[in-house]
């Protein structure tokens, strides 16, 4: 008795057509899902790249225009500007023998308004502290004989 190595196929029937349709439908759905997945991935990737470029351009634009927060002020104004005095200010720097430098701008002017200055020099038993003073530039200090 000989055996047929070829596996037998079930006889054709109405079920196989349905099966075939189901398989075809399933394959189609899988393909559709895969295509949709690919579209979603492409969309996300494109959106990410565009967002990154937009943010980068924004920051670049801010820095190039001079508004660098790391410098604490408008970086375009590197020298000190004169304010409110009669004579022209001069900005100059000098180097000492030690190699360090001083940056200073003189503003000539004589004022007899001593209220603010007097309060700075009066000796009192109490301390004075202030915080939360927000200013575009640091507080003025005075040098005096002690």
């Amino acid at each position: 008795m000989s055996t047929d190595p070829t596996p037998r196929r079930p006889p054709p029937s109405a079920d196989s057509d349905e099966l075939t349709s189901a398989r075809a439908l399933g394959s189609a759905r899988v393909r559709a899902q895969r295509a949709m997945t690919r579209r979603i991935r492409r969309t996300i990737a494109a959106g990410t790249v565009c967002t990154f470029l937009a943010v980068w351009l924004l920051i670049f634009g801010v820095l190039v225009s001079g508004h660098d927060p790391a410098l604490g002020r408008d970086a375009r104004h590197t020298a000190v500007s004169s304010t409110g005095t009669s004579s022209s200010p001069t900005t100059s720097g000098s180097s000492t023998d030690s190699g360090s430098s001083i940056e200073s701008t003189t503003e000539s002017g004589t004022s007899t308004d001593s209220d603010e200055s007097a309060s700075e020099t009066s000796t009192s038993d109490s301390s004075e502290s202030a915080s939360g003073v927000s200013a575009s530039e640091p507080a003025t200090v005075s040098t005096r004989q002690s």
Binding site: T85, S101, S104, T121, S134, T143, Q145, S146
Partner: protein, 306 residues
Amino acid sequence: MTTEASERFPCFGTLCGAWVSGDSDAGDAERALATVKRCLLRWHQAFTRFDPNSALSHLNDDSASTVVVSRMMARFASEVVRAGTVSDGLVDGTMVSQLEQAGYRESPHSSLSLTEALSHAPPRKPARASPERRWETLVVDLAKAQITRPPGVKLDSGGIAKGMFADILGDVLASAESYAVDCGGDLRIGGAGGTPRTVEVQSPFDDGVLHRFKVGRGGVATSGIGKRSWMDAAGRPAHHLLDPSSGRPAFTGVVQATALAATATDAEICAKAAILSGPHEGRGWLRDGGVMVFDDGGFEVIDPGS
């Protein structure tokens, strides 16, 4: 610029203070201010000549030729030597005996107005270095924190110490966005942000503002004869800036000098040297900028680099 915090308090017989914005090695601004205040009050106690129990008084009263001191005291002594060297003896921090003889034995006082003092002052002449050059006899070993000096050589803290303190605290605050330390008028200014700060120079006659500088970083100091003037026992006007050559209060024609320099200590040395040198040679000490005020109330502004 971030919010700036500040504090002022009595210290060294006058007002001291600090302004800080941003974080530094001392922490946030509030913590940095507390550190500044704590340090200055502690150093005041250690370096005052008017307290017999201060570290400086103990050093001056110690009869041993070599004395072990704190590192801060050793550093101060080295600055006294440097001041004498730089000024060729004009700024002499070893004139304690002469100061006491002139009547400067206790906390600063001013019983004589500047105008009155000038009206009774002797003829004006520039000061000169002492022939004894006592500051040259100081030997300071910073590593061992030892000071060696001949008997009788005593150190006066004064402006040199204040400038040094301002510099030390300035180094601590250097990483802050902006800072200023005021040790009784000796200023150290700076900060990582580099924002210039306005510094007002006050008149010694009426406390008005003579001039304003804008300083990004560096030291500013003012020396003068107006704040601490009195009549001595002989009825002569006296103050605390002595002519080293005579040991007497110096009347040079300059009543106040403000100096800008890289550090507060350097500014203090330059300011003192300028006032002691007189009107003609004084401006040579203000190459980095400053103001000289004369007997008649007139003043001259020296621009940086001039």
